[in-house]
């Protein structure tokens, strides 16, 4: 298994790298402004519109290219927020122990038991589907699991000799967290970040698919939402250039990130040892 891990990591990195490139070069790559009406509506693919146009005559390929940007921004910010907050809470609970730890774990247990998707839908519906709301809400769903992993790592690290030695020399908790615990849980945190980014891509697309995205934002999920509003999309060849490409883009981006996460996972993670 260990021989294959670098291969998986490189395949994943290649896929993610392609998406990052597309997202960064979106203004150069996209043949049209994704919001502009650049042709007649419901045009089949042509040289001018490689993936045709949607119901209001916008170029679908350009929407997918700009959608990569939206997906990656949301994935990176949501995962960063979830992992940052989760790691902080986990490290604090693990090193504080006692009442703080018990209360934090209780909160984490309750947060993990609450089903995520219905709650996300209700929050976004009430707060309004701006990009910031979607990012915060996805992070909200992710931090408890990450906090739990980091806490257990912190607890096992805190028993090591060099941490005892540092404490013996009078180091306070913030110093121990910064100097010893965070570097030691680093690889685990990096893998969690990439995994959660993969989930965030699917979650953002799912929310947008349900109609919960900023109406001015161009994203893969929003393209799907728009396409599937028309039952006629199934009855003509439209499906193959209006539904299939964004669906494949979401899947490929999520799989690429999951591969990277799997490749980065440290050996000490029990999840890996089970596979």
């Amino acid at each position: 298994m260990s021989a294959r891990r670098p291969t998986v990591l490189w395949i994943g990195a290649g896929i993610v790298g392609c998406f990052v490139l597309v997202a960064a070069l979106a203004p150069l790559l996209a043949p049209h402004d994704p919001r502009a009406i650049s042709g007649a509506s419901f045009q089949p693919p042509s040289a001018r519109h490689p993936l045709g146009t949607n119901d209001s005559g916008q170029d679908i390929l350009s929407q997918l290219i700009w959608g990569a940007r939206s997906s990656l921004i949301v994935a990176a910010s949501a995962a960063g927020l979830a992992v940052g907050f989760g790691a902080l809470v986990g490290a604090a609970a693990g090193s504080a122990r006692g009442v703080v730890d018990v209360v934090t774990m209780r909160v984490i247990d309750v947060a993990l038991a609450v089903p995520a998707l219905p709650l996300l839908i209700v929050i976004v519906a009430f707060a309004g589907p701006s990009r910031a709301t979607v990012i915060v809400v996805i992070a909200l769903a992710g931090w408890p699991a990450i906090a739990r992993i980091v806490r257990s790592q912190t607890l096992s690290l805190a028993r090591r000799g060099y941490v005892h030695a540092a404490r013996g020399f009078g180091a306070r908790a913030p110093y121990v967290i910064r100097r010893h615990l965070l570097p030691a849980v680093g690889p685990l945190v990096a893998a969690s970040f990439v995994y959660w980014a993969a989930t965030a891509v699917t979650l953002q697309a799912g929310l947008a698919f349900l109609g919960l995205s900023d109406p001015t934002e161009v994203s893969w999920g929003a393209v799907l939402n728009r396409a599937l509003e028309h039952q006629s999309v199934y009855l003509t060849s439209q499906w193959t250039w209006w539904v299939l490409p964004p669906g494949l883009a979401i899947t490929l981006a999520a799989v690429g990130l999951a591969f990277v996460g799997f490749g980065l996972e440290p050996r000490s993670n029990p999840r890996w040892e089970r596979t």
Partner: protein, 324 residues
């Protein structure tokens, strides 16, 4: 067995948190979504005066927060979930008409998904490492990574539109002439097949991997060697002996899928316009029908928590070591 009070207590806490979130979210989030319902300048203004009156009474925003909460809990205890803006009817009535379809869909998907996952797992584990096993592992891992709404749309396009095997949406043929109960039953089953299949594929991978691992664990056992020495056929050894012993972990895993199934049902019902609670939630969000949306949220999330509790209790019954 000791009564699991601690377990029940922690689940009761989760339900309390859910119920409180349901009360607190619309009041705490910016933009006063509920107040705009009775603001004539807002685009979500409710024109119907009697529905607006009902809404104002239900949310009671001019009272102090504690009084609102007390009244909300009181309403909840009597099953009053407010009035739907779109349907001009009590939310509990609207939900009542939809819950049955979601239960039917999720239950069918659980049975089908568990059966497929177990059979494929037995097959794969028995021929561990061979080409068939590797192909199955790759297939199920790929399935696991397809977002449910995309998988649903692919299935709808290929199986319902291209091949025409299944209806594209709905749960029954509308305005069908009644030609006997059997005919109606077949019609429901025909509409159910595709959404249930897609939903089943959402959790089949986990079931498959657990069954496969459990099967692999049985492979070297002495009883299989003895059976083989007695001249039993491969088939009997595989299904009657090894699979039967490998079943326990797989049974407990099956119950863990209920939360996943309920969540995925929101997407699958939406794609297939299946008239369950998930589709209702999607419609309520689109219509800004806040009381109905909150009702769907409560029903779906409490169903998930209840399923988790059931799984925990079942697990203790099946494996008493976990209760200690």
């Amino acid at each position: 067995m000791r009564a699991p009070w601690g377990l029940l207590g922690s689940y009761a806490l989760v339900v309390l948190v859910l119920v409180t979130l349901n009360f607190w979210l619309p009041r705490a989030l910016p933009g006063q979504p509920i107040e705009t319902l009775s603001d004539p300048r807002s685009e979500t203004f409710v024109a119907d005066a009697s529905t607006r009156g009902e809404l104002q009474r239900y949310y009671g925003l001019d009272e102090p927060l504690a009084a609102q909460y007390a009244r909300y809990m009181q309403d909840l205890a009597t099953g009053d979930l407010g009035t739907s803006i779109r349907y001009h009817a009590p939310v509990s009535d609207v939900l009542g008409g939809r819950i049955g379809w979601t239960l039917l869909l999720v239950a069918t998907a659980l049975v089908v998904g568990t059966a497929i996952g177990m059979l494929a797992g037995v097959h794969s584990g028995w021929r561990r490492g061979r080409a068939a096993d590797r192909r199955l592992v790759a297939l199920f891992l790929a399935l696991d990574n397809l977002p449910s709404f995309f998988l649903a749309s692919v299935a709808a396009y290929l199986l319902a539109v291209r091949l025409g095997w299944f209806p594209l949406y709905g749960a029954r043929t509308p305005f069908a002439e009644s030609s006997g109960a059997l005919h109606a039953l077949l019609d429901v089953a025909h509409h159910l097949a595709l959404p249930a299949m897609v939903l089943a594929l959402q959790f089949v991978t986990f079931q498959y991997l657990v069954m496969r691992a459990s099967m692999v664990g049985e492979l070297g056992s002495d009883y299989l060697l003895l059976g083989r020495a007695k001249g039993l056929s491969d088939r009997v050894l595989k299904y009657r002996y090894a699979a039967r012993n490998a079943l326990l972990p797989a049974v407990t895993v099956a119950t863990l899928h209920i939360p996943l199934a309920v969540t995925a049902a929101i997407f699958v019902e939406t794609v297939f316009a299946y008239p369950g609670v998930g589709r209702l939630l999607f419609e309520a969000v689109g219509d800004r029908d806040y009381p109905l949306m909150q009702g769907c949220f409560l029903v779906l999330s409490i169903a998930v928590v209840a399923a988790n509790l059931l799984a925990d209790l079942l697990y203790r019954r099946l494996d008493p070591r976990t209760a200690a």
